[in-house]
């Protein structure tokens, strides 16, 4: 049996060996040289990746890189840690010692607060500096229970409310009035100096009237506003101010919203 199988194997081998051999055509060498002169073969014999994988690999790489930049653009550290803070509820009237809210008055665009529109004026610069300082302070404050984050709106977008991080509204203003001296004036006098007639009520000074041709009038203060701070200082009923200093900004409560009003001399 084994011999017979061996014999068949040899017969098959002999049959294949008896096949007529073919020769290469006459222009074989010429065509090989032509191909060599043309350059390297475009495909390698050992390429084992399917075409779909060859296409998918660079595509996937591009998607990963694009996704990385897109993720960074959407969730950048500034965007992630500084949410847009909602307006402070009017039910919490306590003044903020050093964290102002800057808001453009939505009522009359022509009376746009100088802090927003006139970016080159000295008053505006002061307010911006104050706001930046407030942001720096509040960013390290541990007293705050409010959501952190915020920024200062320099573009003057209408109706946008931007508030620094950690604005603390719970800190009480000093209740004890400073001693009145010859160079100091009361809050009521200080307000009158800028053209405001107001009475203290409900944690602030309620504006009864504003002289049209006065600093407050030119700056857009209105009757009905409640003044909470003057130059970042809480306007308690017994608060006093240096009579030689000139007021630069007010924080008022208007229609349930807090507004910073830069004072125009």
């Amino acid at each position: 049996m084994r011999n017979e199988d061996q014999k068949i194997q040899e017969q098959v081998g002999a049959l294949l060996g008896s096949l007529k051999r073919v020769e290469a055509p006459g222009d074989f060498d010429f065509k090989v040289r032509a191909r060599i002169a043309k350059g390297r073969p475009s495909t390698s014999p050992g390429s084992w990746l399917p075409a779909s994988v060859k296409l998918a690999m660079p595509l996937g790489l591009m998607l990963m890189v694009g996704g990385y930049f897109a993720f960074n653009a959407v969730y950048s550290p500034e965007n992630a840690n500084v949410p847009v803070v909602a307006e402070i509820p009017a039910a919490n009237p306590q003044p903020m010692p050093f964290a102002p809210v800057i808001e453009q008055p939505a009522v009359a665009p022509s009376q746009t607060v100088a802090a927003v529109t006139d970016l080159k004026s000295p008053e505006t610069t002061d307010i911006r500096r104050t706001a930046r300082t407030a942001i720096k302070r509040t960013s390290t404050s541990t007293l705050s229970t409010e959501p952190r984050g915020g920024s200062v709106d320099m573009a003057g977008g209408e109706g946008k409310t931007i508030r620094p991080a950690g604005a603390n509204t719970d800190v009480k203003s000093p209740e004890t009035p400073e001693p009145v001296s010859a160079s100091r004036i009361t809050a009521k006098d200080a307000l009158q100096k800028i053209g405001v007639t107001a009475t203290f009520a409900g944690g602030g000074w309620k504006v009864e009237s504003v002289a049209a041709d006065s600093t407050a009038g030119r700056s857009g203060l209105k009757a009905g506003d409640t003044i909470e701070t003057l130059d970042d200082k809480a306007l308690a009923e017994k608060a006093t101010f240096d009579s030689r200093s000139s007021a630069k900004g007010l924080r008022v409560r208007r229609d349930g919203r807090r507004v910073i009003v830069g004072l125009r001399p």
Partner: protein, 210 residues
């Protein structure tokens, strides 16, 4: 190594490098690496026939065989720097030709998915030619020989490639088992087993000629 001017000085260069005895393949390779284009011409002269015949029996398509044989030499030329002379050059060039032929067969299989011939496939996916019996009266011996050669060629081409490569190398090209094992990067036992199995498959198809 440009081939632009090989025709003008190739023959003379070859005579200078091979005055009397026949240079070994390795010597020709080294000469080609050194810029002797005539040496590469001699390599082609030695192997173009065997490689073309091998590929023809493997693919059963002369035009394709010639094309792949030319491609084999192109690849050899561009890979000369990577060729190590501890291996036989004949083994090296047959391995390149085999890889090209296998790639071609696989490409054909993909193309065949869209053709009717795909209906006639063996259990392992290899092509099985549809061969209706030819009952016409034979004309003369030459026609008989042509017919026999054609049938054997188709029978070889119908073998799965893992059997076809060693059978063609052994029975058509006359390579030793050791050379075949090296070309296919297989063990000697596996190589012999595949040759035996391939011959067994051919015996069933070529019973009439045995």
């Amino acid at each position: 190594m440009a081939f632009d001017n090989i025709e003008s000085h190739g023959a003379e260069g070859l005579q200078r490098s091979m005055p009397d005895e026949k240079l070994s393949d390795h010597a020709l390779i080294e000469a080609t690496k050194g810029g002797d284009e005539a040496a590469f011409g001699e390599i082609m002269n030695r192997y173009r026939g065997p490689i073309t015949n091998y590929l023809y029996r493997f693919l059963n398509d002369y035009e394709e065989a010639v094309d792949l044989a030319q491609e084999t030499f192109v690849r050899v030329y561009f890979a000369l720097d990577r060729y190590h002379t501890q291996f036989a050059f004949s083994t090296y060039i047959y391995r390149i030709a085999t890889n090209l032929a296998i790639s071609e067969i696989r490409r054909r299989k993909r193309r065949r998915l869209m053709s009717l011939t795909g209906l006639f496939q063996g259990e392992d996916g290899s092509e099985v030619e549809f061969q209706p019996p030819d009952k016409r009266q034979l004309q003369d011996d030459e026609l008989v020989e042509d017919e026999r050669s054609e049938v054997i060629g188709r029978a070889i081409a119908a073998l799965p490639e893992k059997y076809r490569v060693p059978v063609v190398l052994r029975d058509v090209e006359g390579k030793t088992y050791e050379e075949i094992a090296e070309i296919m990067k297989l063990g000697l036992g596996t190589t012999k087993s595949r040759i035996s199995r391939g011959r067994g498959l051919l015996k069933e198809k070529l019973q009439h000629y045995l």
